[in-house]
């Protein structure tokens, strides 16, 4: 930050100029970003984590959902600089040691995807819901409220909710 930043040369402006340190899916990374560059673009273009999708680009659809500091956010509405010093989990980071997350297994089992564009964001939000309610019964309206920021135009949500209920039960029985 400098209060005396010189007038910007367009070529200068096109160059990244802020270094951020983030932990992405458990790995520490240092990346140079333009201050208002979207976290979504940094993940996809700089880190090549293309599992995170761009849907609407305006915070409506949730396809770009990732966990930032433990909460789901729309990565299209987060300037990359706000991720500085934070932990980020993307769809690529949910599987542990080659084993799928309980939510991923449940989505496969219930057939919770059709076209697939919403699926990574939906799974990230669902995994957050399941992980933050370990051993708790979550009523269906509450599940739907948690997932309300992730739009799906194919499934009608039935199999998605079914998968989340299944994953919550699996988590409960596995302790």
């Amino acid at each position: 930050m400098s209060a005396d930043h010189p007038a910007l040369d367009p070529r200068e402006a096109a160059r990244p100029r802020v270094r951020i340190r983030v932990t992405v899916n458990g790995t520490a990374r240092e990346i140079d970003v333009a201050p208002m560059q979207r976290l979504l673009d940094v993940l996809r273009n700089d880190l090549h984590l293309t599992g995170t999708k761009e849907g609407c680009g305006e915070g409506e659809c949730g396809a770009c959902s990732v966990l930032l500091a433990g909460r789901p956010v729309n990565s299209c509405l987060v300037p990359a600089v706000h991720a500085d010093g934070q932990e980020i989990t993307t769809i690529e980071g949910l599987a542990q040691h080659g084993a799928m997350h309980a939510v991923q297994k449940a989505f496969v089992k219930a057939g919770s995807a059709q076209c697939g564009i919403c699926t990574p964001g939906m799974v990230v939000t669902a995994a957050w819901l399941v992980d933050s309610h370990k051993g708790q019964a979550v009523p269906e309206p509450e599940i739907r409220a948690h997932l309300a920021g992730n739009l799906c135009r194919c499934t009608g949500y039935g199999q998605i909710v079914e998968a989340v209920v299944d994953a919550l039960q699996q988590q409960a029985t596995e302790g």
Partner: protein, 297 residues
């Protein structure tokens, strides 16, 4: 094109409130527009739609140590400028004392927006369709503004000066929104928004209110209309009509007549004037019934 535009935008990232105020002061003197940003849930949507962005942004997200969180003081609840909806909703005392504001906060977008959006941003964005800001208006909240010239407090009632306009000077920064102590845990807090869906929907028409009954009579009335005027708006005529009345003496036609003096909704992309006026009247009736019932036992 969008990426180029965002790359061209300069962001000032102060480390202290004092530094932030100096930057605002300097930009103001030099005639540079410096727009404060926090959760960016409005700023980056504007950018997406290619709206003209100011030359520079002032990023206050990094000032969360100074401007974040909730603080209960003698004056009331101080909601820091960078306090998000999610932070407030995770605070049981907030939900217990301000149930209708909590309801409004829980219906801003959905969880992803609530993790980033702030009460102060909702107030400054000055949308007539805001969720939390009209409820803050019904709670008599005040806006704390700081600049190098000093600190001042503006009641929310006088804060919105027109469609998407506020009385904040360009060299001022919102440091907090204060909900007065008298409003905390007060009787009759009531909020309902009507949109296309329960979440991820912008309000077609809504009511944020505080209705206090005593001995069967309405002794205190605050009604803030949502998506019914150019700004969230208190309904002076309607409030005067209702004050002192018993539920049985409130006449539906008189209520609608008083409402028409206060509110002249418009037709737009989300709804139309006829629907808005009728649904608003029914929201008032519902709020009256439900808050009356809540105090009846």
């Amino acid at each position: 094109m969008q990426a180029v535009m965002l790359r061209d935008v300069e962001v000032m990232r102060p480390r202290t409130l004092d530094e932030a105020l100096r930057l605002l002061d300097r930009a103001h003197r030099e005639g540079v527009r410096l727009r404060p940003m926090a959760g960016c849930t409005d700023v980056l949507v504007d950018a997406h739609f290619g709206k003209a962005l100011p030359e520079r942004f002032l990023d206050v997200w990094g000032l969360r140590k100074e401007l974040g969180g909730l603080r209960w003081t003698e004056a009331g609840l101080v909601i820091g400028a960078t306090c998000t909806y999610a932070e407030a909703l995770e605070t049981p005392k907030f939900v217990a004392e301000l149930p209708a504001l909590a309801k409004a906060a829980s219906q801003v977008g959905a969880r992803q927006i609530q993790a980033r959006g702030t009460f102060a941003g909702n107030v400054e964005n000055a949308s007539p369709a805001a969720d939390a800001a009209p409820m803050l208006l019904a709670l008599d909240a005040q806006v704390k503004l700081a600049s190098l010239q000093g600190v001042r407090t503006v009641p929310l009632l006088n804060y919105w000066s027109g469609y998407r306009q506020t009385v904040r000077r360009p060299d001022e920064l919102i440091t907090a929104i204060v909900v007065p102590a008298a409003a905390l845990g007060s009787q009759g807090q009531w909020f309902r928004k009507v949109g296309t869906r329960a979440y991820q929907a912008i309000t077609k028409v809504g009511l944020a209110s505080r209705l206090q009954w005593q001995g069967g009579k309405l002794v205190d009335v605050r009604l803030a209309a949502i998506s019914m005027a150019a700004t969230p708006k208190r309904c002076a005529t309607l409030e005067t009509y209702l004050k002192g009345r018993e539920l049985a003496t409130i006449d539906a036609a008189e209520l609608r007549h008083a409402q028409a003096v206060d509110l002249q909704p418009i037709d737009d992309v989300r709804s139309n004037a006829t629907y808005r006026a009728e649904v608003f009247a029914r929201l008032v009736e519902q709020a009256l019934r439900e808050t009356h019932l809540a105090t009846a036992h």
